[in-house]
Amino acid sequence: MSQFLSDAFLPHVPTFIQLFYLLAMSLFIFGIKKLSSPATARSGNQMAAMGMLLGVAVTLFDQEILTFEFIIAGMAVGGILGFFAARSVAMTAMPEMVAIFNGFGGGASALVAWGEFSRADISLWAGQDLATAGLGIMIGSLTFTGSFIAFGKLQGFISGRPVTFPGQNYFNLLLTGVILILVGWFVTDPSNLTIFWSIFGLSLLLGVFTVLPIGGADMPVVISLLNSYSGLAASMAGFVISNNLLIISGALVGAAGLILTNIMCKAMNRTLGNVLFGAFGGGGEARAAEETGGKSVNKTTADDVAIQCSYADKVVIVPGYGLAVAQAQHILKEVAGMLEKKGVTVKYGIHPVAGRMPGHMNVLLAEADVPYDQLYDMDQINPEFKSTDVVLVIGANDVVNPAAKTSPGSPIYGMPILDVEQARRSIVFKRSLSPGFAGIDNELFYADDNQMFFGDAKQSLQDLAVAIKELE
């Protein structure tokens, strides 16, 4: 694009490009800042998108760029694919979508490092350039394959169970070590293409072997971590081509991924090491179901639930992923609306890992037109349970299990939960007494103040809606 500019202006182009990069970076930062409230979040995202557009647009004026056919073709293909993927994906499939996009991002970073390596005169490269190129290829490649394995596990193409073999963790550690040594070797002998290809190949393998042993339920953590990696990969690519915008944006994303990974691990009461190397999931389920023997539960009916809710002052709804599986968000919203018309205060209490990734349940409820000011985080809603008349627990289980606070032997002991048992009455909508994801029996079901409303979540809510109507 620089050929369209006047000769007098040409020497200043690099400066202007940098200034626009500065602007693009500011847009990213302001964009993320605006994500701190649902009211401004959408414009924040659009701001970040503008920053991206600006960054790409001014890059076209880079004097190194002489042909545009490949650029236009690539953007057209990628843009169309991205557009249709983003438009057609179901909100429940968001973890898969993020995994795929992330895989492509990591792959792109690896390709940039490779392309830069093969087009440039590497005899001019300093050791640091080679090192960052090597690391960029490593991180980008393992993000690429790791993300697609994670996608396969979430989709069920690949078994969600941990796939392990003896000594797997040591093998992965060894593989990581070997790749790092190869990167070091590559710095001293960049013309040796065998080393270069080995870094590429082994890193792709490492991505596969790192994610395969992790259980399907932990995939969101993995995706978040890989998201952080793809940020790092972008930063590395930025080091290679000395581009501050890439370095900064990559660092922002890297930080975002790490924070979210940390939040998820805390909410699940696990350490990152345990997620990555623990091969959690599978086994253990059989044991819990048998223990339910001697204890009895209070069963309830739609009419009874309708009466209790209609005459309550405050009702808190605790939704879990089971609600989304049953596609019952819309009917739930209707029931909540009917109760509000009767003057009942309705709030939703949402656990950080409700749904399949942090904040997923909020998106699913937003899709059903539940206003976000009715959605309360765990820390906001927990103090309110004491003054709550009725809690409706729908499709959630482990996140309301008091064993997390009371029985030190339990696998979920220490996990932060919603203090549903403090409410005057809790009603659990559930198909049966079967244990949840973690495979642990739930004491809440047998509590005196708790009632069980057995059945499919959607059907139960429809019955409840009818029953509430009949009260009028």
Binding site: N45, F70, G78, F83, F101, G105, R119, V253, A255
Partner: protein, 96 residues
């Protein structure tokens, strides 16, 4: 070597900014945050553009092309899907 050190400073400072900014995002918005941040990581498209647009280097162009396709999927898809999600977040009054 100075440029490496300089770049490292930028990297570390930006990481701190990232931590500060992102720890203020409420849990309600964590899914859109994840997909939005993911879209930003597609910034690598800028590197891809430079690689694909520089001539006379046969196969590097094809690598660049693949990189552009990958990164554009990441960027366009990421921002659009985030927008789709955030569009649904509505306040009570704005409803109906």
């Amino acid at each position: 070597m100075e440029s490496l050190i300089f770049n490292l400073f930028i990297f570390v400072l930006a990481s701190f900014v990232g931590f500060e900014l992102i720890s203020k995002v409420p849990p309600t918005l964590h899914t859109p945050l994840m997909s939005g941040a993911n879209a930003i990581s597609g910034i690598t498209v800028i590197g891809a553009v430079v690689v694909a647009g520089s001539v006379d280097t046969g196969y590097a162009q094809w690598i660049g092309l693949a990189a552009i396709i990958f990164a554009t999927i990441n960027v366009v898809g990421g921002f659009l899907v985030t927008d789709r999600m955030l569009e649904m977040f509505k306040k009570k009054e704005g409803n109906q």
